[in-house]
Symmetry: C2
Subunit: 230 residues, 2 copies
Amino acid sequence: MELSELSKDLKPISADTRADLVELRLREYLANKELRTGDVLPTELELSAALGVSRNVLREALSRLRMLGLIESRKKRGMVLTSPDILGSFERVLNPQLIDTTTLQNLFELRLVLESGLADLLFIRKTDENIEELEAIVENEKFIDDDMFRVNSEIAFHSKLYEITGNDTLKRFQVMLLPLFDFVLKNENRSVKSKVSHADLVRILKEGTKEEFVIGMREHLRPHFELLQK
Amino acid sequence: MELSELSKDLKPISADTRADLVELRLREYLANKELRTGDVLPTELELSAALGVSRNVLREALSRLRMLGLIESRKKRGMVLTSPDILGSFERVLNPQLIDTTTLQNLFELRLVLESGLADLLFIRKTDENIEELEAIVENEKFIDDDMFRVNSEIAFHSKLYEITGNDTLKRFQVMLLPLFDFVLKNENRSVKSKVSHADLVRILKEGTKEEFVIGMREHLRPHFELLQK
DNA sequence: CGAACTTTATTTGTACTACATAAGAACTAA
DNA sequence: TTAGTTCTTATGTAGTACAAATAAAGTTCG
């Protein structure tokens, strides 16, 4: 049984350190007090006194919040709340070597779900310029013979799709997931080709309907989904 | 201009503290040494000596890695690498009050993209039991008169869909996003009803084809997408 | 000899002190 | 009023000390 599966039934006994508790309390404090971006927090001395912990422990907790982008601290002025970078923390954790296989599988599925669902956003946000860029990528593919270049082009095409959505969060998310799927991409080229090519997708995006694109994209991704069914 | 937009062009000057640098170095260390789950790290004293910082600073950095779930530490034995909970850090940051409006919008779109793309996974993983549960939820909706209960049922239905995918990461992600969209759900009921109801979706899932479901789900979500187009 | 128990050594967890550094705030002088 | 200086305050960093837990070594007794 996978570790991630197991830990659902068998939660680790709460060996919480003071820093863990303080971090929790601080986040509760931020939420309950309904503090907003720009508001200033009490000083470290006040906080550590109120919480009954050493400044040391408090700072370990604050260090975490600082990493998450929840707070920034400036000398003399104190600490201020900031708008966190929601993907920043995610990025730090995406080490393929450490993520268990179940989660990797989940993320791969997640990517397929995302790409299947892009159609509507694409049709809302597409521009002539975007489509030309896609066409350029497809045009290049004709002359590619090398496997590595083919993978790169594969990535370029799908990346461009995300870009067209105009959704930066989505786009960043995709970029972060890319390195996780190196091994998948390597198998990809040897597996059966889709009936629907990149060129087909671009044509549909340019002249077809959303419905056609949804079907087309699903067909394009079909080989991946078939891998899942085993 | 939004803060998140601005900070792309105008990156904050690197006021990195020692803890920031140490955190970075440690993550590089983990990646470059190709350490894996279960491997043990040097002791705090060794690390702080090697990095040339006080144990204090080192511990602030370690505290971050511990929060991310990258490491766990046990007395006497030292620190061991662990498989991080990739969504745990995400969860800590999802404070609706702090997330800027652009990102909130992006996340809302992300949710729509996900639900549009669920079809394939649903058809791969659906079971008779699951469908019965969906039918039960839909059956209940008939007798609901209260707005709050309606919202809850709306949530229950869509949550169940995620559940059927059998993808825990996806499911957890959805649960985490829920509280962000309270305000959207409140408007939702007042907006135009979809032509495709929950009952329709269940029927398609039970007896129809994937293609029909994709179209149906898109139609069901249409009111939301129309809000985006403004 | 070996199993149960005790001691030791080591490593993390917490607290406290001290001082450096930056920067707002208050004050002073032209 | 303005420019410059000093004062004050809050964070950043270092170091020491000790508590707590526990793996490992050592000891006792059957």
